[in-house]
């Protein structure tokens, strides 16, 4: 599949070309959407939002080869917008992190614990581990320096270890 050619066609208004581009990596897109939304229905809805934005803004994309990183950047923003709109996303206020710690009685949900991290750290964890992105790709998607990405990842892992360390030791 020639990505650049399909992107050029999509830029010329070819909806099928855009659809082919997304469907070629449907698992990647659905997986990324799912880790943010945590249910299939919402994940599909966000993908629908994303493809409309991609179609209307594709002419702002300068490098055709950067289509997928650009599309994922838009997907992440769509997820965050929908989470905020649905008011299901409650950022943890500073100083109240203790109250959100995992309760062992409810069972261990790693993704849930990741979602309790501050936004910036959660995004890095989701993109690095769940979407298998490199530091450079994450820095491009989140529009921040590579050093910041590494630092956020380190802090996020430290927090996760602090919160879930005991449970993991018991499981191991």
């Amino acid at each position: 599949m020639d990505v650049r050619k399909l992107v050029s066609q999509a830029k010329a208004g070819d909806k099928d070309a855009l659809l082919d581009l997304i469907m070629a990596r449907e698992r990647e897109f659905f997986g990324l959407s799912y880790v943010y939304m945590r249910n299939e229905q919402d994940a599909s809805d966000v993908l629908q939002d994303m493809i409309v934005i991609l179609y209307t803004r594709i002419n702002t994309l300068k490098k055709n080869s950067a289509f997928y990183s650009w599309a994922k950047q838009i997907l992440v923003r769509c997820c965050l917008t929908r989470l905020r709109r649905d008011k299901r996303w409650q950022p943890i206020p500073v100083g109240h992190e203790e109250s959100t710690q995992h309760n062992p009685e409810q069972g261990l949900d790693l993704l849930d614990a990741v979602h309790r991290l501050p936004d910036a750290q959660r995004d890095v964890i989701l993109l690095f581990y769940y979407d298998d992105k490199t530091f450079e790709e994450i820095s491009e998607i989140l529009q921040c320096p590579v050093g910041t990405v590494k630092s956020r990842l380190h802090q996020a892992l430290k927090k996760l270890k602090g919160r879930l360390g005991d449970e993991y030791r018991e499981e191991a």
């Binding site: 830029k11 010329a12 208004g13 909806k15 855009l18 659809l19 997304i22 469907m23 449907e26 698992r27 897109f29 659905f30 997986g31 799912y34 880790v35 299939e40 599909s44 993908l47 629908q48 939002d49 493809i51 409309v52 179609y55 209307t56 002419n59 300068k62 790693l110 993704l111 990741v114 964890i125 581990y129 769940y130 979407d131 298998d132 892992l157 996760l160 270890k161 879930l164 360390g165 993991y168 499981e171 191991a172």
Partner: protein
């Protein structure tokens, strides 16, 4: 178990999830709800455009600035700035030569030549700049109109100054 290993395992579990079978149809339906783009695709401004405009503007400015000595030469000898000196020289000369002509007679006004050549260069550069703006910014009226208006005002002021119109 190591937290990183656990994260990778969880990621693998999610990556094996099957997207809904009707995903393509749903995405297609979303795309169909968007009206087809009817306006022509706006291509980005070419790379050389900004440097070219900067260069032309600099050239116009240079042409204008190099006018300064010529403008000073163009000031008529009986102008406000020079009348006093000229009159004094004139009186001294008359006294030395014993000429009894009336002092009320004014010295002749010089006939300054207008810098048509340079004005031509300036107008040419301005026209070239305007044409480039029109060609490259066609369809972007929000940028094109202010650019052309600025260029026109700047060019008009400079040309008027060069032709000494303000002194009239």
């Amino acid at each position: 178990m190591n937290i990183e290993k656990r994260l990778r395992q969880d990621a693998q579990r999610i990556s094996q999830m099957q997207p809904p079978k009707d995903l393509r149809a749903r995405l297609q339906a979303s795309l169909d709800s968007v009206p087809m783009e009817t306006k022509p695709i706006q291509r980005p401004v070419r790379r050389w455009f900004t440097p070219a405009i900067a260069l032309l503007s600099a050239a116009m400015f240079l042409v204008f600035v190099t006018m300064t000595p010529m403008i000073s030469d163009m000031i008529p000898v009986n102008s406000v700035l020079r009348t006093g000196d000229v009159l004094a020289d004139h009186v001294v000369q008359e006294m030395e030569s014993g000429d009894d002509r009336s002092l009320s007679e004014q010295p002749t006004t010089s006939n300054p030549t207008l810098p048509w050549g340079r004005v031509g260069i300036f107008v040419g550069l301005a026209l070239l700049t305007g044409t480039l703006c029109v060609v490259e910014l066609k369809g972007r009226s929000r940028i094109l109109l202010p650019s052309l208006a600025t260029l026109a005002i700047f060019a008009a002021i400079c040309i008027a100054y060069m032709l000494n119109l303000f002194a009239l």
